[in-house]
């Protein structure tokens, strides 16, 4: 009789231990799920911040390019302009762009005349200025940012030299890592 009591008691004890183990596992699982939920919310916020920061950096880069001496009009055109690009200089730069490898951390730099409107024609030394797209660097693109600029060059009519400026977009593209 006493042996039966002992056996029953030990079985009850084992049951209680098992119940405790399952409960502990359930609580652990619960906290793991809560932790994953919190982590995923924080991480998604982090990704969004990184994307916004990258976009801001890219916009700053477009502005920086437009004002850099390789692109900017400087004082070559009357009435010193900001966001003005010297297209004569840029066309020469295009021919020597290999010397600027890795200088600007971008895949693609393109200047596209948007007014007056005309059919798409890429610029070269042969057809300039009867063209509207100057592709300075061509690479793989996954993200693109642009800014409006004045695109200016020297022209002459009847032997008189004047500044001709048109509305264009400076487009900078890079490979999102």
């Amino acid at each position: 009789m006493s042996i039966m009591v002992i056996k029953m008691t030990s079985k009850k004890g084992q049951l209680k231990i098992q119940q405790m183990a399952f409960m502990l596992m359930a609580i652990t699982l619960f906290f793991v799920l809560v932790g994953m939920f919190v982590f995923s919310i924080q991480f998604s916020g982090l990704k969004e911040s990184a994307a916004i920061l990258e976009e801001k950096n890219a916009m700053l880069l477009v502005t920086k390019l437009a004002n850099s001496p390789e692109f900017s009009c400087g004082e070559a055109f009357k009435n010193k302009k900001t966001h003005c690009i010297d297209s004569d200089k840029v066309l020469i730069l295009k021919e020597n762009i290999n010397k600027y490898d890795d200088f600007w951390d971008v895949e693609n730099i393109e200047i596209r005349k948007i007014y007056p409107v005309s059919g798409e024609k890429e610029c070269s030394l042969e057809n300039y200025p009867d063209c509207n797209i100057i592709k300075i660097r061509s690479g793989k693109i996954t993200a693109e940012f642009s800014n409006f600029v004045s695109l200016c060059r020297k022209e002459s009519i009847g032997g008189e030299i004047y500044d001709k400026c048109e509305l264009a977009k400076l487009i900078v593209s890079y490979n999102e890592k």
Partner: protein, 152 residues
């Protein structure tokens, strides 16, 4: 005049760790005239900075501050980078001068720009920042400002 100019520039930077007077005792002292107890001596007229037992040369205030604050290797390396970019820009403007002649814009700067680019290319360290290159650059800039078709 120089003292006032430097003091104004330092105060305009609004940096907590830069003092033009009442320097804390453990400060690094930068002197613009010879004197005792100077860690760095700047000879503004001769265009050099003596720091850490060596001399680095500068032209313009920008390079002066770079020479004062930088380690020697970093200063010399960054100066070479600036010269490399200057070389490419000089060549770019030389080619531009030839290119815009088709629009009737004639300049006679291309040969001097080529010479300037060669001087910048051959600069090994700040000692090569001599008066000839600086004067050539200034001369080209002055002549460009007088051109009907300015290159920059």
């Amino acid at each position: 005049m120089l003292q006032k100019k430097i003091e104004d520039e330092i105060s305009d930077l609004n940096q907590e760790n830069l003092f033009s007077d009442n320097c804390p005792s453990e400060s690094v002292r930068v002197c613009f005239t010879s004197g005792l107890d100077c860690d760095i001596v700047v000879n503004y007229n001769a265009g050099y900075v003596d720091k850490d037992g060596d001399r680095r040369y500068f032209h313009s205030d920008s390079l002066m501050y770079a020479a004062v604050f930088s380690e020697r290797e970093i200063y010399e390396c960054q100066l070479k980078r600036v010269m490399q970019r200057g070389e490419q820009l000089a060549l770019l403007y030389k080619d531009k001068a030839q290119f815009i002649s088709r629009a009737g814009c004639e300049t006679d700067l291309d040969q001097d720009l080529l010479e300037l680019s060669n001087l910048q290319k051959n600069l090994d360290d700040s000692q090569d920042l001599d008066g000839y290159m600086i004067n050539l650059a200034d001369d080209i800039d002055t002549r460009n400002n007088l051109e009907e078709c300015q290159l920059w």
